[in-house]
């Protein structure tokens, strides 16, 4: 079953304590789509400017990502430059939304019939517009960020009434729920509508809650994080890609998807930009999943 991936496609410049990368392919939809395409057919819905490199378009084609929903508008592509500190905190040095400011996702008839959707971190009113265009959604998920949670809370609340799965990171979950304890915060997210709440804790792993269920997974042990960019989007992309590929959406299937998603994220952060994700194979992931089970004692199958 296909997966719609809606979000940003950008050009990133990244500085970390371990080096720099200039003008690499970025954006929430890019990372999510590149991760999800290993598991299910992916249709990308985003916008780029007329400066967007042809070779990046060809990359999407080569990876089997349907880009009929990738609009090209006259103007500049979304650009972001950020610098990570040793503790993983990031500071935005430069931001140019470019044509992304005019992004009003319009689904074609065929895209509106896609049953699974991941809405990356964009304005909640745009996420809502996509949700309202879906004809027969089976599983929908969204991510968000501190800015929307604080500044666009009412639109965000409307999104939460409609999505099945909510992804937030630890700081966002605390900010949104007001709960300092993360177990409490994860469970509290369910009260706002989603059937499943997933809280990403970076190096410390992930928490997931659903009515009557709770799951906790440590992070895959990575001893040198080169670039955290896109890890959360690749995580969500893997999770949705895997779930879209399966008929039965059980709690166990979700837990298994989170484990594989953690492994994807752990590979993404070991190199700059989406490089590792571009070359990633199912076999690479299987190897890492096996290692993860040894490191963590987890057996889910």
């Amino acid at each position: 079953m296909s997966l719609l991936v809606v979000g940003s496609v950008a050009i990133d410049s990244i500085e970390t304590p371990w080096g720099k990368a200039k003008g690499v392919l970025g954006g929430s939809a890019t990372y999510a789509a590149l991760a999800a395409r290993l598991w299910t057919p992916v249709a990308l819905v985003a916008v780029v400017g007329d400066d967007f490199p042809k070779q990046a378009l060809r990359l999407f084609d080569r990876k089997g990502i349907d880009r009929r929903g990738l609009l090209s508008l006259p103007g500049r592509t979304f650009q972001w430059k950020g610098r990570y500190q040793l503790d993983g905190q990031v500071r935005t040095l430069f931001l140019d939304l470019g044509v992304f400011e005019q992004f009003r996702p319009q689904l074609s008839k065929s895209l509106a019939r896609v049953r699974h959707a991941f809405l990356g971190n964009i304005h909640p009113s745009l996420q809502l517009a996509v949700l309202n265009q879906l004809r027969a959604p089976k599983l929908t998920a969204c991510d968000s960020r501190d800015h929307w949670i604080e500044q666009e809370r009412s639109a965000f609340l409307k999104v939460l009434k409609k999505v099945d799965i909510l992804f937030l990171n630890d700081a966002e979950a605390r900010l949104f729920t007001g709960a300092s304890n993360l177990v409490e915060a994860t469970r509290a997210l369910l009260r706002f509508g989603p059937r499943v709440a997933i809280v990403k804790k970076g190096e410390h792993g992930v928490l997931a809650a659903s009515d009557g269920h709770f799951f906790s997974l440590p992070g895959y042990p990575v001893s040198r994080v080169i670039d955290p960019t896109g890890a959360g989007d690749a995580f969500a992309g893997t999770c949705l890609g895997l779930l879209a590929s399966q008929k039965r959406k059980s709690w166990k299937a979700l837990c298994q998807a989170l484990l594989t998603a953690s492994c994807t994220a752990s590979l993404v952060i070991e190199t700059f930009g989406p490089k590792r994700l571009i070359g990633l194979t199912k076999k690479d992931l299987e190897t890492r999943v096996k290692g993860f089970c040894v490191f963590s004692g987890v057996t889910l199958s």
Copy 2:
């Protein structure tokens, strides 16, 4: 096989966002001994003043803790008063070392022959003095804290050459190794001597490393932490108690001990002081371990 538990026995007053407890039994050796006694005979080596409540001595007796190594000196018992913030950080409001300042652990002949020892957070030169008195140690472990790591580094380094297992929390491991990445920090601890390094991450669980092995466990999901006091000592006490009770010290046995130790710690923090630990049974722990395996997907047996 018996376990020697060396450390502080104190009277604590604790304030947390959820309430207060005044004049409760505390100290690293208290928590470690109360946790370990479920699994193996425990001999306590510590010092108290002549103001130490008789009922606390009777408690040790009732719990089968050998207190022939618990010295009573004229003067006041170690007193500590602390206030925890919502984020789990603690501030010391009052500290009176009392007779603890004169603590120079002297093992009797029979105690010196005990094969297993846990050295709680005390001055590294005192930990070293105990290690040097042990006749035929089979498994030794120590904890420490930021103050000793920074101010008494050379004595601490000598301890690390002698102990088998080192317990530190995340901040201490970073401080001591200079590595910001916790996976790297955990592995780096091994270079200083111990065969096993265990890094406690509070709500985020625990990391453990040994030559060729790595293990990562999430925290048991506790939605309301009432009082974190003693959780780390109860964790180490459970771990050592379990290992002391087993003939074969395999990596798998250590991982299993860490899982049970995490469950002990999760129970300790749900009430003020050592209350939960005093009433704790193996059955309570078995129930929580089962729940933990469901929450985490971990199977070790």
